[in-house]
Symmetry: C2
Subunit: 366 residues, 2 copies
């Protein structure tokens, strides 16, 4: 482990990323937001969505796919809902504005739902649903994403790993934080299997014929070249294990994030010029916030959440298991540990951050 | 097939069930609602939730678990939300009232969300989400249910197969109707495997130790006696195939249907007297309705839905497949066929209906 990782404190990591974004022309407040979302992912152990992606944003800002000083516009607004156009902003900037608006509406009127179009990759969905927590609201965050997933019985990657995140407050227990992709596995996991030369479990991915494939490298290449095949939806191949359910959830996220905002969905996302240069990604998000006391007193509700969580955790374990988790729990524990002890970064990620620092002219002193 | 099934027309089947409910003291309007939900399930090919369950309701009404003339009360109400107490009504009666209220609020104000507590099994969730369609709304229906499902790493059945249904209108294409349990398989499927002496696929269910079990009969017995083990959540055993995601969705449904209404959740549902007699089931539901034009013109949205559906359906198929489905499509096709040609009922179901007719004194002339 010591050779593979480098432990980094969150404060200097935050300062470094913030400065990189500022150098790329992002206003300080937006640079802080974007950095906060990335570092929170690392703190919560979701390293696939953390600072490892800094180059993606750096490149996006450099080639104009992401706009450093976007004009975010309100396309339509009611007391409960809104549709925003993100102006090709960094997803985190458009996302935070969207979720803040949903929260504001919910605080005032009980419910708030905001759709955002013309945005970009926004990091972990959990960041936004967690924002609702401070206000004792139930928070919902969905986003569509680049196409890596095939529909049930299909061969083309037409869907993203389109995550669903819902945060529900509890009283003394930790909140319930669902933050799940609707695919059976992530591209990041396939990369790990590929590096280790391990065969993929049955039902994770398909080949160019649309049939199960255990070769991670082949699947990754096919996804990149759109040669056919890709990740399978939650539930795997066909219908035997409920793959059509995962496909349905994946599609549902795209309906709310792509069709409802009305700009791009399926493989209309991430368009390119005829000569293959990337254009703004047209990613969309959907945010919701709900006041608990629109139904019954929040305090009573949160007591019941505690009770539910305790009943689950104290129930009998399967043989060989010593713990039942509630969603978000593992991530909260990692966050406490990493805030205390520092964040482990892959050497490769560490070196890449250093290189970005040199390219953009930000001293790298981690 | 001809020996296993009996073809029955929907009109006399509807009349028969309606009369049975009326004989049990259910007012004509409520008898019609309950019957309509059951027969629609059969028409849409979801026979596990159709008239095969008439005995369950008949018995429930007889032993007082379901109340024929319930007092359904508004516990809390805002212009956008409500909490209803179903008074141990037939789930269909409390459910329809709840969804109607959500629709009414959405029509007036853009959004409507209604939680219902103290209800009973309400049949297919899709019936309620489909109600929103007539008003050009997006419809959402969730319900918790009797505990057949174990949490990831757990051994006790603490969760129902808790379905999620969302209906989204399209223009010329059929609407998107997601109606899925959050378990990998249903009890009904296990019963089929048991009858056929077939081994269960890996990841469907666990034994009393909480480990995978391919013996359907043993799993069914264990679920009934709460001896340990049960159905697995969507994604199967452990976390390798995303079982924790299915578990999270299952729990989420129980948070909205059990914790939010605030009466019963997990295995607090379906309580019994100390000597094992069933008490009212305390099932809860959650309904939502959303106006599309709260975000953008409904007509434009529906055109994009058509486009999304067509792009999916015309995309390349996996080898050996000739069709990609959109959710609800199979059921709409069956519905057209069964309305035209009659509904196939298992002989066992047919005989059971006949027996109920004799017990309750309703002529059976199907």
């Amino acid at each position: 482990m010591s050779t593979e990782f480098r432990i980094v404190r969150q404060e200097p990591l935050t300062q470094f990323c913030q400065k990189v974004f500022e150098k790329m022309g992002v206003p300080p407040r937006d640079a802080a937001t974007t950095t906060e979302v990335l570092v929170l992912a690392d703190l919560r152990g979701i390293d696939s969505h953390g600072v490892a992606r800094l180059r993606r944003y750096y490149t996006g800002l450099k080639n104009g796919v992401m706009v450093s000083k976007p004009v975010i516009q309100t396309v339509h607004e009611t007391p409960l809902t809104a549709l925003l156009d993100g102006g090709a902003a960094l997803g985190q900037v458009a996302g935070k504005q969207g979720m803040n608006l949903a929260i504001e509406k919910a605080k005032k009127n009980g419910l708030g739902f905001v759709a955002v179009r013309n945005s970009n990759h926004y990091g972990i969905a959990g960041y936004y649903s967690l924002m609702a927590l401070k206000e004792d609201l139930i928070g919902i965050a969905l986003t569509n994403s680049d196409c890596y997933v095939v529909p049930t019985f299909g061969r083309d990657v037409l869907l993203g790993t389109n995550p669903i995140s819902v945060t529900v407050p509890a009283l003394k227990e930790r909140p319930f934080v669902l933050d799940m992709s609707t695919a059976v596995a992530t591209l990041g996991k396939l990369e790990v299997y590929n590096r280790m030369g391990k065969k993929l479990p049955h039902g994770w991915a398909t080949d160019e014929k649309g049939l199960f494939c255990d070769d991670a490298g082949r699947v990754l290449n096919n996804i990149r070249s759109k040669a056919g095949g890709g990740l399978l939806p939650l539930g795997g191949e066909g219908e035997e294990f409920g793959g059509h359910k995962g496909y349905g959830l994946d599609l549902l996220v795209d309906i709310f994030c792509g069709v409802l905002p009305g700009l791009a969905y399926l493989n209309l996302l991430y368009p390119k010029t005829p000569d293959g240069k990337p254009l703004p990604s047209l990613v969309g998000h959907f945010f919701g916030a709900m006041r608990i006391d629109a139904f019954r007193p929040a305090e009573d509700f949160k007591k019941d959440m505690d009770n539910m969580i305790r009943r689950l955790k104290s129930s009998n374990k399967a043989q060989g298991q010593d713990r039942i988790y509630v969603h978000g729990e593992k991530e909260f524990e990692l966050e406490e540990k990493y805030r205390r002890e520092g964040i482990p970064l892959y050497h490769k990620v560490y070196e890449d951050l250093k290189a970005i620092g040199e390219e953009v002219g930000v001293p790298f002193t981690l």
